[in-house]
């Protein structure tokens, strides 16, 4: 009996260790108590609790019972929203976001340059953002493949991508792929295309080649099915494979563009090749062709009110969201900036002012709508039973300028906690001072050995600012 008990205990121990090793850590039950819950789908619920089990929203209701070991968070007087989703970001992308060499670079993927320790992730969490669409830059007519991530700061990079998010790709139209805003480097030939005409033909040419490639693949598969021994697989084309996936409806197209004519042209090209554009990105003049966009079920992901920073942004208006919404288009509001990503809640608030989008619809533009655009709305984007517990607790209504995120959690796990952040500051300051006193960190004037090349970190605000070479 004793032996059996010991064996039994050992089993439990092993199982726990196994669980810990496999799932990172056992997920505690969490109960958020007595909050104003802004669900982003079923209105606002006063004095409401949310019970989180295994990283999912298990129950929403009043006076929910909790087990004795449940972590209880008192949110009296606070506001709870779904985690914000940024449908256009380059956060945690290390190095240039553009593979500049060709205008069609569908073979590359942003997954290869993710830096899970980028401080912008933490700053985004502190602004209530839990997920993002990490897009290739806009230097190319057809750029690289995207990665949809959750901002699990502190975890290994492989924990970031949302496994069941459909794959996507970046297209770009207008001034950026034309590369006419940058002077041509001496000794270099300007890259084709140089005009909006050329951009459309570059995309069309790629799809003609992709269609031929698909035909070759189909022929091969048909021969294999018929057990034809002469079947020879076509040579793999890494450039064309993602485009074939687009033609087969398996990959989402996120097309950057500004002017209404170029936006409409890419929709017409998609009609021609029989696919749907998932989102028009930026789309500052989308309001001019709202009915055409609505008809195709294409989503639009915009800035609320950025405008005028280049010629193709000169007709942008802050009423863009309202006009699109009124036409039934799925609208999301994105940041495209490590700075702006911290205040998407205020960008959403503005669409109430510009035109009069109702509050819940405005909130959807940074939660449920981008989740739909990215195909992850089954698991995140609203506060509903069964969804991932991607949740933000705010000290005030998130549409108030005086609001702060107090806590941001992803799948029930806290990734940002303002109280903890404040409590850690003294310790961090002391550590910083200790490090600064080390010989290597003392200025040469006071006898230290200076680091050879100190760098002044530049942060990219908007694509064309610095560091990513004329994107946006």
């Amino acid at each position: 009996m004793k032996k059996f008990t010991a064996f039994f205990l050992l089993q439990i121990l092993l199982l726990t260790a196994f669980n810990f090793a496999v799932f990172g850590q056992t997920k505690k039950e969490v109960l958020i108590r007595n909050a104003t819950v802004i669900t982003a789908i079923h209105g606002n619920l006063e004095n409401t609790d949310i019970l989180i089990q295994n990283g999912k929203i298990a129950r929403i209701g009043k006076n929910l019972k909790a087990a004795s070991n449940t972590q209880v968070i008192d949110a009296s007087g606070k506001f709870v929203t779904p985690g914000i989703i940024d449908c256009h970001s380059h956060a945690m992308m290390d190095g240039s976001v553009n593979e500049f060499s060709y205008s069609v670079t569908s073979m590359v993927t942003t997954r290869d340059i993710l830096n899970p320790t980028d401080i912008s992730i933490y700053r985004a969490l502190a602004g209530g953002v839990t997920a993002a669409n990490l897009l290739h830059g806009s230097a190319n007519s057809i750029g690289g493949q995207n990665t949809v991530v959750k901002f699990k700061y502190g975890r290994a990079v492989e924990d970031f991508p949302v496994a069941d998010a459909p794959p996507g790709i970046k297209f770009a139209l207008g001034e950026n792929p034309k590369q006419t805003n940058q002077p041509t480097q001496p000794g270099r030939t300007p890259r084709y295309p140089r005009t909006r005409m050329g951009v459309m033909e570059t995309i069309r040419d790629a799809f003609l080649r992709a269609r031929d490639y698909r035909r070759a693949l189909d022929d091969y598969r048909a021969k294999v099915d018929k057990k034809d021994k002469t079947a020879v697989a076509p040579r793999r084309e890494l450039e064309l494979e993602p485009l074939v996936e687009i033609l087969e409806g398996k990959r989402l197209v996120h097309s950057h563009g500004y002017r209404s004519d170029e936006l409409l042209n890419v929709l017409l090209l998609a009609d021609e090749f029989g696919f749907r554009v998932a989102t028009l990105q930026h789309a500052l003049e989308a309001y001019k062709i709202a009915p055409e966009i609505a008809k195709r079920g294409t989503g639009v992901s915009i800035f609320t009110d950025s405008w005028g920073y280049k010629l193709e942004a000169f007709d942008a208006i802050p009423y863009n969201a309202y006009i699109l919404w009124k036409n039934g288009v799925n609208v999301s509001i994105n940041s495209d900036s490590e700075e702006r990503i911290r205040r998407l809640n205020l960008d959403a608030a503005k669409v109430e002012k510009y035109g009069g989008v109702p509050e819940e619809e405005a909130l959807k533009m940074i939660t449920l709508n981008p989740a739909k655009q990215l195909g992850i709305d089954k698991r995140t984007g609203s506060i509903e039973q069964g969804k991932d517990a991607d949740i933000v607790i705010w000290n005030a209504h998130p549409f108030s300028v005086y609001a702060r995120a107090d806590m941001t959690m992803i799948e029930g796990e806290v990734f940002f906690d303002r109280a903890k952040d404040l409590a850690n500051r003294d310790a961090l300051q002391r550590e910083r001072e200790t490090l600064e006193k080390l010989d290597i960190n003392r200025p040469p004037g006071s006898g230290g050995t200076a680091p050879k090349i100190p760098s002044e970190k530049r942060q990219a605000d908007r694509d064309e600012a610095v560091g990513d070479g004329g994107n946006h």
Partner: protein, 455 residues
């Protein structure tokens, strides 16, 4: 009449013509000191009485239900019970709040229309390093689309600064209404803008070239050189002024020829007018304080990320801060995430005189209230946040007797809104500049009207 006689008459005619043009120029320069009585073309002039309003005076207590009378471009009366002059147009403002127009003291408004790809529309930076004589007021486009877009959100006054070289030129303070530069000008030449030399190892981003950072010691040398050049120019300009003065008193002295750049430096090196120093980090701000002490000049900091760390030096030398970093990222990875949101609260606690600015060139100046509000989310009281975009910039610009609060006798730059003006959901209902009621239209409302019902 001999030909010579005729010629001399023409010469005399031209002399008088030139003289009168010169005098008119002087008068128009005086006129450029806009006193608010001036009747600009846009908008509707008249006597207005804003009644039953919640009046946020900023300078004093909030009047929960009162009247503001606007007459001759000025605030003629304000209070809970004031008599309304005959012929006044009544504006029923029940449920609405009246605020002083907001002021952004750190913009380039009017100097640039479209920053990227349209260089013909950009007049921010003159060539060369030392351009004391470049005046922003002469580059501002009164008809820029940014004027209307900005003012319909309640910003009525901005300072517009040139940006280039070490000495960029002289900034202008303008009201956002007027058909000409002088109609807009509140202070045509407010201050001399200096990009204070700093240590920088960054040598410019170029995706096509492998740019390496400059060696640190080399960067220090370069900074010292630029600072020496600046000090030399100050000393030379001071001497230039002395020589000019001496000659003015005693014409028997050798004639000192004029130098347009040094001429422009005189009021600044003498400490008569403020110098706006662009400086962000503690090290650079300390260097500015030292410079101001050494050269005995009047200083204002623009930027000011770490100004709160230099409180003693700034207060001792009466240096204010135009803070424009709410929408910027902390420079160092290990700076607190709210490092730049909380800096205004820290300045306020340290007793530094400051105001909040967008630092924007045009398109996003309309976000000024939200910059202030965000400082409010991170430690600044709501009242202080509001002052940081109204009364405080007015004080820093030396205009607190004319704008920045709702007080009798001030210029009628007013905004009427349906809620807290710092909140992004609040709607602006009326804007007055110089007592003129302005239409709430802009390029954006025009395009909205054009496309909102397209089927």
């Amino acid at each position: 009449m001999t030909i010579t006689n005729y010629k001399s008459r023409i010469t005399r005619f031209f002399f008088y013509l030139c003289l009168s043009v010169f005098i008119c120029g002087q008068i128009s320069f005086v006129h450029a000191q806009n006193d608010g009585s001036q009747q600009n073309q846009t908008g509707k002039a008249g006597i207005f009485a804003i009644t039953n309003a919640r009046i946020v005076t900023v300078s004093g207590a909030v009047i929960e239900n009162g009247t503001v009378v606007v007459q001759n471009g000025k605030i003629a009366a304000v209070g809970a019970s004031v008599s309304i002059p005959g012929g006044a147009e009544l504006i029923e403002a029940r449920g609405l709040s009246v605020y002083p127009g907001m002021i952004d003291a750190g913009t380039n408004l009017g100097l640039t229309e479209i920053g990227l790809g349209v260089p013909g529309s950009v007049d921010t930076a003159e060539g060369g390093e030392m351009n004391a004589n470049a005046k922003a007021i002469l580059g501002i486009n009164p008809h820029s689309t940014h004027v209307n877009v900005t003012r319909v959100n309640g910003i009525t006054t901005v300072m517009s600064l040139p940006t280039g070289g070490i000495i960029s030129g002289q900034s202008a303070v303008i009201n956002l209404n007027g058909s000409t530069q002088s109609e807009m000008a509140l202070i045509p030449t407010y201050g001399l803008v200096i990009n204070f030399p700093r240590i920088t190892t960054f040598s410019g981003f170029n995706p096509f070239a492998n740019t390496q950072p400059v060696d640190f010691n080399e960067a220090v040398k370069q900074r010292d050189k630029r600072l020496d050049d600046l000090k030399t120019l100050f000393k030379t300009s001071e001497n230039y002024g002395k020589v000019q003065d001496a000659f003015a008193k005693d014409k028997s002295l050798p004639y000192p020829s004029k130098d347009i750049k040094m001429e422009a430096m005189i009021p600044y090196v003498r400490g008569e007018k403020p110098i706006v120093f662009v400086a962000e980090r503690e090290r650079d701000i300390r260097a500015v304080v030292k410079f101001v002490e050494q050269m005995k000049v009047k200083g204002v900091i623009i930027g000011g990320q770490e100004a709160w760390k230099v409180a003693d030096g700034l207060k001792k030398n009466n240096i204010s801060v135009i803070y424009k970093n709410i929408y910027n990222l902390p420079v160092q990875d290990d700076d607190a995430y709210d490092y730049l949101f909380s800096a205004p609260a820290k300045m306020q606690q340290a007793g530094i005189r400051f105001c909040i600015s967008t630092g924007d060139s045009g398109p996003e100046i309309r976000d000024l209230p939200y910059h202030a509000g965000s400082a409010g989310a991170y430690g600044l009281s709501k009242e202080e946040a509001l002052k940081s975009v109204t009364l405080y910039p007015a004080q820093i610009l030396g205009l607190s007797d004319r704008i920045g609060s709702i007080d009798t006798g001030k210029i009628a730059n007013l905004v009427i809104a349906d809620g807290d003006i710092l909140e992004p959901r609040t709607n602006v209902k009326y804007v007055f500049i110089n007592g003129r009621m302005l239409p709430l239209t802009s390029r954006h409302t025009d395009l909205f009207e054009q496309f909102k019902d397209r089927k």
